[in-house]
Symmetry: C2
Subunit: 373 residues, 2 copies
């Protein structure tokens, strides 16, 4: 059921004239719909050409929207009576979840009413619904989730994928991840020609599992077709390295690495706070250094790197952290906005199709139209 | 060639009467033999019952030893003319490395002249030499390398294995890792009944690869025979958790997790220093907080957690970081000393043998002799 609460909201056909429409799941995050609505308010202030479809309980959302004058005319509320909970199993959501806000959020992208979707809900369920409703891009075997990683390089973030869409990947899948990750880095993060690395237990050519050595060959032969450079194998310590932009791995390894890195940063942060509280002198020191410490916290703040992107589907889906607050939600929306604005989805589809039909590669690479993709 | 430079050194038969003899590779670390000899000097001061066999170039080592009066009568120098370099391939070292200090270091354990070995050299070569000369423990399919991880729990460290001895592990291998890791945690770290966790991409029973679900069943049926508790699946964020003591995983995943965690801690540390230097106020603050910040640095200092232990061989081998300084070398030696003193090697062999012959398990578990193993 779709309700036109706000008649000032442009219809979708009008909205597409220069407007970027993002479909947002208001429910299912740990902090509830208020944090999501607050995130929308931050986003409209930052992006004058953004509009929203907001999915969830009308009775909960209408009062929250009414309190945000900045959102007037920018949000169309789409009522959904059910919510996917964090503990729901994806298989069950697929059977009984068609009235959930998450389903409705993805459905708007499938129907062409929005250019990208954002949800803070259950990752497994979001991937399952996205797979079933959006379907895989022609030529893609395994979709992937890409995350951002703080970097020592000139740009603030590196990309890593897959961080958990699938628990395995063979060599051709890893090649597709390289291609999709490169396209995402160009369109979402502004890398002109991303440098791809393949995650392994050492950098020498003979290291690691057989599929990694095969993938190494496949990826190094695809650098021109994919418009990227290949730096070869990289190790766990290279994830924030300035020598690589996109790190390719299977979803099992990527998920372990992502959670290990987040957990380590959190542990060091806790120990730092504990340590600064431990003596009177250090408490005084912390007061003097407060400004610098806050900037550090911002730099490694997981909310700023918020937004795992599902790659390899017929539609762009951004998964925000379940615990995201308004800042985190706004970061995820900005990512969806940038990807929608750049025409990422069409570019990625073309890139994957060109690789799936190698005879077209020469024609593609002769097409020097100056686009980043 | 073995030279008795120091006649005050007790012969091995005398030394075994209450003495703990550790075989140490003086060469092949990034900081050269001076750092190793300085590490020995720290160790003898800490452990009055420790003696050393020190392997390497006599002409380099004799002057270094002569300058350390504390080492007089505690070190026997064993000359080895060759050195394994960091870039040497393990296969080549096996063919041509019998005159290296690393080979000589392991050989002393094989011959029963020392109770444990320590080297800062090339990990792959050290594992290869250890495998060939010491051989696998009866009943062990894949040896493993166990590392220490800073913990939020009552004890300062958790254990993770395998972090890179092998690139794969099937379910029975993971069971052996649980058993070996538990035995190491009891004898090296003083855990009475370690809690084992199996690393996975989620904690629900249906998550992850098939071999992990099989391993989950095998490990949960072995808790009594192995004298440990099993907490089930854990995630990357749980590596420093207080709810688990020993984390079991395959060597590929473990190596990526170890290097990702080390790399993240290093990145956060760099950003912290950068941030404290960024303004005059924060520089003043850093001066006040210096004592506390130094204690924090010590707590997450990789030198303190120095020492990967090779498990599943007929002999205890501790791999120190290649870049270890005297503090790091001393930490690795202390670990080797504790394991040698506890009779870890014999206890581990019994434990593995008991599991390989399930009919003996009842007899073993009825043997309530109060030993930790």
């Amino acid at each position: 059921m779709s309700s036109e609460l706000d008649p000032a909201f442009k219809t979708v056909s009008q909205a597409t004239a220069g407007r970027i429409v993002i479909s947002v799941d208001a429910m299912g995050g740990d902090r509830g719909p208020a944090a999501v609505v607050a995130g929308l308010a931050l986003s409209v202030a930052e992006h004058p050409d953004i509009d929203f479809l907001l999915h969830g309980s009308e009775s909960e959302l209408a009062p929250l929207l009414a309190r945000r004058p900045g959102l007037k005319g920018r949000v169309r509320l789409v009522h959904a009576e059910d919510v996917v909970r964090m503990e729901d199993k994806p298989s069950q959501v697929l059977r009984t979840g068609s009235k959930t806000s998450m389903w409705s959020t993805i459905e708007a992208v499938r129907a062409g009413e929005a250019m990208a979707a954002v949800s803070c809900g259950n990752t497994g369920a979001l991937m399952a619904i996205s797979m079933i409703r959006l379907r895989k891009l022609p030529g893609v075997n395994r979709p992937a989730i890409a995350c951002l990683w703080p970097s020592r390089g000139p740009k603030p973030f590196n990309v890593m994928l897959d961080v958990g869409a699938d628990i395995k990947a063979d060599a051709p899948d890893l090649l597709q991840y390289a291609l999709m990750g490169a396209s995402y880095a160009r369109n979402g993060l502004g890398y002109a020609r991303p440098r791809i690395g393949l995650l392994n237990v050492g950098t020498e050519d003979h290291k690691g599992r057989a599929e990694l050595r095969q993938a190494q060959e496949l990826i190094s032969s695809a650098t021109e077709a994919g418009n990227f450079d290949f730096v070869g194998f990289v190790e766990g310590g290279d994830l924030p390295s300035a020598k690589v932009d996109v790190i390719v791995t299977d979803g099992f390894t990527g998920n372990i690495a992502l959670k290990t890195g987040e957990g380590t940063a959190k542990l060091v942060g806790e120990l730092l706070r504990e340590s600064l509280r431990s003596t009177v002198l250090s408490k005084i020191g912390a007061l003097f250094a407060m400004g610098s410490l806050k900037r550090l916290q911002q730099r490694i703040d997981p909310r700023r790197v918020n937004g795992g992107v599902f790659l390899g589907l017929n539609g762009t889906v951004v998964k925000s952290h379940g615990s995201a607050d308004s800042t985190g939600v706004a970061a995820a929306i900005t990512l969806a906005y940038k990807l929608a604005r750049s025409g990422f989805q069409e570019r990625l589809a073309q890139r994957v199709a060109s690789l799936a039909q190698p005879t077209q590669d020469d024609g593609q690479s002769n097409n020097k139209n100056g686009n980043t993709e």
